[in-house]
Structure formats: C-alpha cells, structure tokens
C-alpha cells in the first residue's frame, strides 16, 4: 500500500514536468513581448536624441548624436585602441576582484567560525568600513605611486567589504538544525564545514560576490580618473580635456556593456551553483 501511494507522488512529479514543456512556447512569446515593451522607451529616446542632435538643438560639442558615438567606438575598434583600453580596465577589475575576494573569504571565514576572532577583528573591520573607500585613494597613490598596484589595491578594498560581510553573515546564518544532522552522523568540525556550512552559506557568498563585482567597476573608474594613461577611465579624462563628449559617452557605454557582461557571467555561475534553491527558477 505504501509503495502504491509513493508511486502516485512520483507520477504527479512527472506530469508536472511534461506540462511545463507544453507551456514553453507560450512563455517564450510572453518573454518576447516583455523585451519589446522594455526596449520601446530606450529606442524612442535614442531616435529623438539622434534627430535633435542632427538638427542642432543639442550642440555637437556638448551632446553628439548617437551615430557619432557609435562611429567613435568603431574607429577605436579599428585602430585597436579600444581593446587595449577595455583590456587593461577589465584586468584591473579582475585582479582587484580576485585579491579582495580571497582576503574576504579568509578573514570572513575566520570571523564567522571563531567567536574570539569575531571579537578581535570585527570591530576594526567595521570601523574601516565606515571610511568612504575613495578617501584611501591619495594615500594609496602616495604609497604605491600611480601604477597598477595602487589601482588594484583600491579595487580590492572596494570588493572586500561586501564579500566579507556576506561570508560572515552566511556562516552565521547556517541552520543549526542541519548542523545537528551532521553531528548525528559523527562529522568532525572540518567535515561539518565542508559538507554542511560551506554549501549552506553559498547563496549569501554569491550575493556578496555580485555586489563586490559591482563595487569593483565603480572603483576602477575612480582609480583610473586619478591618473592613468590607458583604460576606460582614462578615456573619460581624455574626453574631458580634449572637449570630445563622444569619447566620454562611448566610454560610459563600454563600461555599461562590460559591467553587465561580467555580472551576467556571475549570475550564470550563481544559477549553476544554486540550482537546488527554490527561488532560482524565476530569476
């Protein structure tokens, strides 16, 4: 009798899956509709902007037409400078992101696991957190010059805090009941960390990574504005000094594109790692 009823449960599961397959088409058209609706306003705005710039309502030395900006990007792509600027900026963010994340994982885990460590480290880290991170810039430049080290350090500082906070709160938020299950099976502390605490704190950690990456992109702008001879931030300064708004806007657009692209990569990693979560289906 028990097996029969279990079979029915399983049967329902399968039925659910096949019905979602049938609804896929309907869902796709709905998604397409949403994309069309969402892009309506931006397309309209760009069109109006193009017209107004061409007719001279917006002076070209302040707001050039979208087509001019596009051709600026195309020129930079043709002479290859686009790739070196994008490349160096991405490299700085990447290096800072890795360093900041690694430090955050190490310190966050220690503070998360040991109460004593929390009492020692956490107040100081919280105090440092309340310093607006950009205030470090002059000091870093003084210490490390205007080369790569000061920029990467700057970005690492920005990435560190959100990742650290999420690692600590992720570990603190692990369900005691699941830890008890682990203890019931005789797991030692190391096994508990690896098999229960790490996977359970993964959602919080990944959230931290994504907001850390966002801050990394913000800080690379600040770092490159301070003094750089390459990079997208340098293009911003260059555009300002040569009175060419098209370079500034092109740089802003490139920032938006690669920022979004890297976030999208992390989002895919997140979905892969957290496919077991209830809410992941919709996001």
């Amino acid at each position: 009798m028990m097996e029969k009823s279990a079979g029915r449960f399983v049967g329902r599961q399968v039925a659910d899956e096949s019905s979602t397959g049938g609804k896929r088409e309907q869902r796709d058209t709905k998604r397409l509709q949403a994309i069309l609706l969402g892009s309506l306003l931006p397309v309209l705005l760009v069109a109006v902007w193009e017209v107004l710039s061409r007719t001279g309502v917006f002076p070209a030395y302040q707001l050039p037409a979208p087509s001019t900006i596009l051709s600026t990007i195309r020129e930079m792509a043709q002479d290859g400078s686009l790739y070196s600027h994008v490349g160096i900026t991405t490299f700085r963010v990447f290096a800072g992101f890795i360093i900041g994340t690694l430090l955050a994982i190490v310190l966050g885990s220690i503070v998360g696991f040991y109460e004593k460590a929390e009492q020692i480290f956490d107040p100081m880290i919280q105090a440092f957190r309340s310093i607006p991170s950009l205030a470090w810039v002059p000091l870093f430049i003084l210490w490390m010059g205007i080369g790569e080290p000061s920029k990467v350090t700057m970005i690492a500082v920005g990435v560190f805090f959100p990742v650290y906070l999420n690692v600590v709160s992720g570990i603190a938020g692990v369900d005691r009941k699941l830890i008890e299950v682990g203890k019931m099976y005789g797991l030692n502390t190391f096994q508990l960390i690896r098999r229960v605490i790490l996977p359970a704190s993964m959602p919080s950690f990944l959230t931290g990574l994504r907001s850390g990456l966002g801050l990394g992109w913000m800080f690379v702008v600040a770092a490159e504005l301070m003094g750089a001879s390459t990079g997208l931030g340098y293009l911003l300064v260059l555009g300002q000094n040569t009175l060419s708004p098209e370079i500034i806007i092109a740089s802003i657009i490139l920032f938006a594109i690669i920022g979004k692209l890297t976030d999208w990569i992390l989002k895919i990693v997140e979905q892969r790692a957290l496919h077991w979560q209830d809410g992941m289906v919709k996001s």
Binding site: M1, M2, E3, S5, A6, G7, F9, V10, Q13, K177, L178, E180, V181, K183, M184, Y185, G186, R195, V196, P199, A200, M202, H275, W276, Q277, D278
Partner: protein, 251 residues
C-alpha cells in the same frame, strides 16, 4: 542492543527541566515517551543520542556509557532536515562511509523500502512533506542503527500521511527489529506503535507511569482495547486532583 537509563535529568541555566528518568529498553522494543509539551521528553531523547552531553545520571548502551554520538544510534527529527543542495539519494547516503557505488546501492535500496524508488535525482524543494519525511527515515535507516530515536517524527504531517508513515515504521521494525524510542504527544500514535508507554508530567518533568501495551500486532486503529489504554493515559496526564491522589495510592 539494549538501552538503560538511570536517574537521567537535565538542568538548563539552573532550571531543572526533567529529572529521575530511569528505564530499560530491551532489544527490539518500541518505547513511547509521552507527555505534554515542556515536560522534557525531547530533552531525554537528545541525551540518549549524545547530541546533548550535559545531562545528569547514566545512559548505557549495551552496558557502555558514552556521552558522544554513536554510530549505532539513528535520529529522526520532527522536520525532515534534508540538505537542500543535495539530491534525495545524496541526502540518504549523507552519513554513509565507503565507496560511491556501495553508498548509492545502499541508498537506493532504502529509498525503495520507504516507497520512493525512482525519486533519487529530485531535490528536496520538489518533495511534499510526507515524501521529505520518508527520505529522512531512509537516511536514518541506511546506517543500520541498532537504536532509532524519533522526536515527534510525524507531528508536522497531515492525518493520512501520518498513518501511512506509522505503518511504514511498523514495516521497517518488522524487518530490522530495531530498538525504537519514540517521543510523541499523540496518544493514538503511542498506543498504535509502542510496546510500552512511559508518561512524563510536571515541571520539571518526571516519570509518571509505565504502561505496557499488551496487544498483538498488527493493531487495529480505534479498537476498543486501544481506547481503554488511551483512557488510562489520559487519566495519567490529567491534572485532576482525585486522579493524582489515586495514582499516589497505586504507586
């Protein structure tokens, strides 16, 4: 495998929750700990499991005193407590040691025996409450425990699922003859499943009565004999003065 408790008690922050609990469970016996909430029945179970080691008194498993979690005991909690990041099969084999193939074979066998063959690859989010608790039962059984501790294992389930799982527990018991300590506040459940029922009452909780249920299995739910036992248990848990007086005379 027998289990012996002598004067077990527990004090939390100076407040005595339960005291002087003594009983012996013979191998293959099903003992029910019954009582209103707050009388310390779950506390006793956690002491037996080794999850709590700060109790007073002695707990012997096969004559050995150990205040640690032992491989020979399995625990089924009130909630399924499945790891949401593991599949059903991985959850079942969570506590197993050995090669992957061995673990998976054992896990599949026990999933089959709780009626969930074919659900190995599902994640806990896709399970109903009853299915999740079946997985938890399979997880507790897969290590072949000699003593199975159950802490209100069916109390969060609807009435029908509850009955199904009680029958499942009886099937398992018939097959493995595990010693079972069942904590419950459901009198019908206790009379249906147990060989002996120990009632706990008071603050701090103390043993009130030990009621042997001398009924052949399989038992019939709602039978007159079980109803008689239920009456006796209700009498034991009643706060009525006259019953208390009567009890004192009896003991």
């Amino acid at each position: 495998m027998n289990l012996n408790l002598q004067d077990v008690g527990r004090t939390f922050d100076g407040r005595e929750v339960v005291r002087n609990v003594s009983f012996t469970a013979e191998s293959g016996e099903i003992i029910g700990l019954l009582g209103t909430s707050g009388c310390g029945k779950s506390t006793i179970l956690r002491a037996i499991s080794g999850l709590d080691d700060a109790y007073d008194g002695r707990i012997e498993i096969n004559g050995n005193v150990s205040r640690k979690v032992e491989d020979t005991t399995g625990f089924i909690f009130q909630e399924p407590r499945l790891m949401p990041w593991l599949t059903v099969l991985e959850n079942v084999t969570f506590g197993l040691k050995g090669s992957r193939d061995q673990k998976e074979a054992a896990g599949k066998r026990y999933l089959e025996s709780v009626g969930l063959g074919g659900s190995e690859a599902l994640y806990p989010r896709a399970l109903s409450g009853g299915m999740a608790q079946r997985v938890a039962i399979a997880r507790a059984l897969v290590t072949s425990p000699e003593i199975l501790l159950l802490d209100e294992p069916f109390s969060a389930l609807d009435a029908f699922t509850k009955m199904q799982l009680q029958d499942l527990l009886m099937e398992i018991w018939r097959e493995y003859r595990t010693t079972i300590i069942l904590v419950t506040h459901d009198i019908d459940e206790a009379t249906y499943l147990c060989d002996r029922i120990i009632t706990l009452r008071g603050q701090p909780g103390e043993m009130d009565r030990v009621i042997p249920i001398e009924q052949e299995r399989p038992r019939e739910r709602g039978s007159r004999q079980l109803a008689e036992y239920k009456k006796e248990i209700l009498g034991s848990l009643d706060l009525n003065q006259s019953t208390q007086y009567e009890q004192r005379i009896n003991s």
